[in-house]
């Protein structure tokens, strides 16, 4: 369980073989491309290939055609497609476009007319209270009439203009607007229009096709709208018939064009010098031989592989290598951030600790089995990573359910099994062992913190980061300090005199001092000169940092008490469910049990999942893991119908 080893690949060849090489790179599904200009730099002889993509316009054309026909393009196998050149493909697209042009033009016109009528209907609905013929109103010579809507706030201000020669009539209102009309003598219309403009009155233009009163107009427009809608539906049916005929071929044409387009696009990563192209990328070491073999058919192409450590200019991407058990947990690691290439892959550690902690906190045989079965069904259908994780969590919960003796909240069901195994009684009653559970939770926390510190020390030494590995709060000094404190506390509890003067001085005070001086000591180990800002600044900043470390040890340790807290809360909640079921009638009791279990599973499951993740990220990752890696993304064609 580590990070996939990469090889740095340099591919060189004549420019005329570039397209073929790029196709092979895409087909390999294991080539992560980098910009060659990063390694070759820039000079007058170095060109970055940035020609216009000849496949862009035909691709745009087919996407527009599909959009006009309301058809979703998908990526399909295009081996059967007889068109090879871009001209042939473009020609076919234009042919289908012309066939559908007339229908699409009529659809567009109808859609616009329908939109206009719907808009008019919306306005007229607010004027339904007006029982006067529009034509008569608009025929007035000496009075101007303006229809529209006035914002609610502006309506309050109309009283100010009560002395002006204008009447405002409202027919409808909502919380935002008053709908109506105002009438003004023609000779004063300009001034009054300005006043209403300043009040943000929005005029509604009544279309010429509106006749009669508002109610009559509403009826007529609705009829016209229905007729046009029917015609539009008919046209859509014709489009569908045409689509059924051409759909497969269009999908194939799209897939081929997208493939060619995306391949061509990769040219922006390629550099050219004197008629030769240079392509750089990474390939997993395990697939490198297979990758090289892909280019045997190209006479001018040479592929050179070397370890990425030999060239510090490009950081290799990270591809996590995980076993069957830990694979789905990579989702949690990726959420936090991938590890840098060559560093520690925490996925297995996360998988084990997450599964154990979840199982401890959610322990119930019945609920665990239900979770396992449910997750297995979901994972089989959807291949969802969370479902795959839930299978493992369910099994862990079942195992711990056996330990606690709990089956869907029933604490007695497994007692015969314990007696058959030789126990005098049920060995572990959760609610009777509160101190043990809470103490155990702290013990788990201490163990995990010590483990993460050890991981941090090992990775620190591997990366030659001595400040972190030796003098850091999770390095040797931190481990010594924390371990000694815990050891001393345990020993004292057991009656031993542990905190002797040498013990305190050597294992507690000395590590603290070394942590305080970690920056200059780290520089010393690397044989570098340490530059301090000033003695006062140094003391102040490091004092507070060490104080923060001390607080961190305490808070991180105590944080694990939530493991015990959730064990108890789960047991207590199930006890409540069982009590309610006992109180219910004979018929109602099973229902209460089922519903109660569903409720507890859903709520506790979600809470426990989040809390364990929080422990992973805050209490554990912060001690040994920083992320910062780039994901390994092999080049491939994206068959979404969107052009960047």
């Amino acid at each position: 369980m580590s990070i996939e080893k990469m090889e740095l690949v340099n591919i060189v060849g004549m420019n005329d073989e570039l397209d073929g090489v790029l196709v092979k790179c895409c087909q390999s599904n294991c080539f992560h491309i980098e910009s060659a200009s990063q390694l070759l730099g820039s000079s007058k002889h170095v060109d970055v290939l940035s020609e216009d993509n000849p496949y862009t316009q035909p691709l745009r054309n087919i996407i527009s055609l599909a959009s006009a026909m309301d058809f979703k393009l998908t990526g399909v196998d295009y081996d059967e497609l007889e068109m090879n050149s871009v001209d042939e493909l473009d020609g076919y697209i234009k042919e289908v476009t012309e066939l559908s042009a007339d229908i699409n033009a009529r659809v567009k016109l109808l859609s616009e007319e329908i939109a206009q009528r719907k808009h008019a209907l919306r306005q007229l609905k607010h004027l339904k209270g007006l029982d006067v013929d529009f034509e008569k109103l608009f025929a007035c010579e000496h009075i101007k009439i303006r229809f529209g809507k006035l914002p609610f706030d502006s309506y309050k201000k109309l009283d100010y203009y009560s002395d002006k020669p204008v009447f405002f009539f409202t027919f409808d209102n909502d919380s935002d607007y008053y709908w109506g009309l105002y009438m003004v003598p023609a000779v004063y219309s300009d001034g009054i229009d300005d006043i209403f403009k300043s009040l943000y009155f929005e005029r509604v233009r009544i279309p010429d096709f509106v006749k009669g009163t508002a109610s009559n107009a509403l009826e007529e427009i609705t009829e016209e709208l229905n007729r046009e809608q029917s015609e539009l539906d008919e046209l859509h049916k014709q489009i569908k018939t045409m689509l059924d005929e051409h759909q497969d071929k269009l999908n194939m044409a799209f897939s081929k064009l997208k493939y060619l387009h995306d391949n061509f696009d990769l040219r922006r990563y390629v550099t050219s010098i004197n008629g030769k192209f240079y392509l750089v990328g990474f390939v997993p070491e395990a697939q490198s031989k297979k990758f090289i073999a892909l280019f045997d058919e190209f006479s001018s192409v040479s592929v050179v592989m070397k370890p990425p450590e030999l060239d510090g200019r490009v950081t290799p991407p990270t591809k996590l290598k995980n076993g069957l058990f830990s694979r789905p947990f990579s989702m949690f690691v990726e959420m936090y951030g991938l590890p840098e290439y060559g560093t520690f892959n925490p996925t297995l550690f996360v998988a084990i600790t997450y599964t154990l902690m979840f199982g401890i906190m959610f322990g119930d045989l019945g609920q665990g089995l239900v979770l396992t079965i449910g997750a297995a069904i979901l994972a089989a259908k959807t291949h969802n990573k969370l479902a795959q994780i839930a299978i493992r969590l369910g099994i862990s919960s079942s195992i711990f359910g056996l330990v606690y003796g709990s089956v869907f909240g029933n604490e007695e069901l497994l007692t015969p099994m314990y007696l058959a195994m030789g126990f005098k009684e049920k060995p572990f009653e959760v609610l009777d062992r509160i101190p043990v559970i809470l103490g155990g939770a702290i013990a788990i926390g201490v163990l995990l913190i010590l483990t993460t510190m050890i991981i941090n020390i090992i990775t620190g030494f591997k990366n030659a980061d001595y400040e972190r590995a030796v003098f850091g709060n999770s390095g040797i000094c931190g481990l010594t300090f924390f371990g000694s404190l815990i050891g001393g506390a345990l020993g004292t509890l057991l009656g031993a005199k542990v905190f002797s003067v040498p013990y305190v001085l050597g294992l507690i005070i000395l590590p603290l001092i070394l942590m305080f001086l970690r920056e200059p000591l780290g520089c010393l180990m690397k044989k570098k000169k340490y530059k301090a800002e000033g003695i006062g600044d140094f003391i102040a900043s490091n004092f507070f940092e060490v104080f923060e470390f001390l607080l961190g040890y305490a808070t991180n340790t105590l944080s694990f008490i939530r493991i015990g807290g959730f064990v108890l809360s789960h047991a207590a909640m199930m006890k409540v469910v069982v009590s309610l079921a006992e109180m219910a009638s004979a018929g109602g009791s099973p229902v209460v049990m089922v519903l109660g279990n569903i409720f507890v599973m859903a709520m506790e499951g979600m809470l426990v999942g989040i809390q364990v993740l929080r422990l992973q990220y805050y209490e554990m990752f912060s001690r040994y893991y920083t992320g910062g890696g780039r994901p390994f993304e092999p080049v491939k064609v994206n068959f979404s119908a969107e052009l960047e």
């Binding site: 706030d153 309050k156 009283d159 909502d174 919380s175 607007y177 403009k197 300043s198 943000y200 929005e202």
Partner: protein
């Protein structure tokens, strides 16, 4: 107010804080080409969608859009005040009092410029039901006596009743403004002392007096730079309250013989030390940024309801000012890079 109620208000204020516009929102907005596009973006993608729900973004008037944005901020403020029944405490009327004073001053300005009819269009109608005097009555005022008649039963009457017109029949707007703002700050201070104590009162005073200090700095700077106002006139126009800057320190600023000396003296003050550069172009923006910074920090750390409310309200007012800068910039086709420099974020 119980500790639980205070916690609820603080939590609510912080939740509302999370809805503020992000850097990405501002970047999108300054790239829009028209007021309609700005309105459309605000309606589709930000917390202003509720207030703009019924607005047709294709036809909305710029002025109406700006009014709605201000109304939204007022709604946030009044919503928080009603939450946990805070509005029963007089302090929480602070924004209404501030706006009432703003309306009186606007009315005086319209009278002085013989443009009484302009007042009604700028009157924020949402304030009408909250004000303690008749705002529509104020709109109808044709003289200073009419204004006094409208505000007769309020504290503003005693502040303004002795103001006399000059030889041209105009009323000293600056004197009225100083008098009313002084009244407001005194009212604010009294209510803070009456209703709160301890850290809450201290934090509120810090926010308020910082605001006053920075207003005094900017106003004195403007008067010196643009109007060459004599020192005595500057002193008479300043608000007589002092936060981190004592009266002596402020007087030193007023008495600076020129701009450069003003900046040098400002650089030695508490506020000046926090400004990254002391120059004419950015002083106003930097002082506002300082207030913005204090408000953000206060909101993050305070456990007090009035302090959180005061801070969040200021932040939203600033957000609206940013949006208005964007709208006006787009309207006058100012380059997006220039608009972005004006924003406080």
């Amino acid at each position: 107010m119980s500790a639980n109620s205070s916690n609820a208000v603080v939590a609510k204020a912080r939740a509302i804080y999370g809805k503020r516009l992000s850097e990405a929102d501002y970047t999108e907005l300054v790239r829009r080409q028209s007021v309609s596009e700005v309105a459309d973006y605000l309606k589709r993608s930000t917390h202003y969608r509720d207030i703009l729900a019924a607005v047709d973004t294709n036809t909305v008037h710029r002025g109406y859009l700006e009014d709605l944005l201000r109304k939204n901020t007022f709604a946030i403020y009044s919503g928080l005040c009603k939450f946990q029944q805070l509005d029963k405490i007089e302090f929480y009327r602070y924004d209404i009092v501030n706006k009432e004073i703003g309306q009186i001053l606007r009315c005086i300005l319209c009278l002085n410029t013989d443009s009484e009819d302009d007042y009604i269009s700028s009157l924020p109608a949402y304030l009408i039901q909250h004000a303690r005097f008749d705002l529509l009555g104020l709109a109808k005022a044709k003289s200073f006596d009419d204004i006094l008649a409208v505000i007769r039963h309020t504290g503003y009457y005693d502040v303004l009743k002795h103001v006399k017109p000059d030889a041209n029949g105009k009323y000293d707007y600056t004197a009225c403004e100083v008098a009313l703002r002084t009244y407001y700050l005194r009212w604010l201070g009294e209510n803070v002392s009456k209703s709160f104590s301890g850290k809450t009162a201290h934090d509120l005073r810090f926010l308020i007096l910082t605001q006053v200090d920075l207003i005094n700095i900017i106003n004195s700077y403007r008067m010196k730079t643009y109007f060459n106002t004599p020192v005595d006139d500057i002193k008479a126009s300043m608000l007589p309250f002092y936060g981190r800057l004592s009266e002596k320190k402020l007087t030193e600023l007023y008495e600076a013989p020129d701009n450069d000396e003003f900046m040098r003296r400002l650089g030695r003050t508490y506020y000046g030390r926090q400004l990254s550069q002391l120059d004419d172009d950015s002083l106003e923006k930097q002082t506002t940024e300082l207030r913005y910074k204090y408000a953000k920090i206060t909101l993050r750390v305070s456990q007090s309801a009035p302090v959180s409310l005061y801070a969040i309200h200021f932040l939203f007012e600033l957000e609206v000012e940013n949006l208005i800068s964007i709208i006006e910039g787009i309207r006058y086709q100012v380059p997006s890079g220039y608009i972005e420099k004006l924003l406080i974020k």
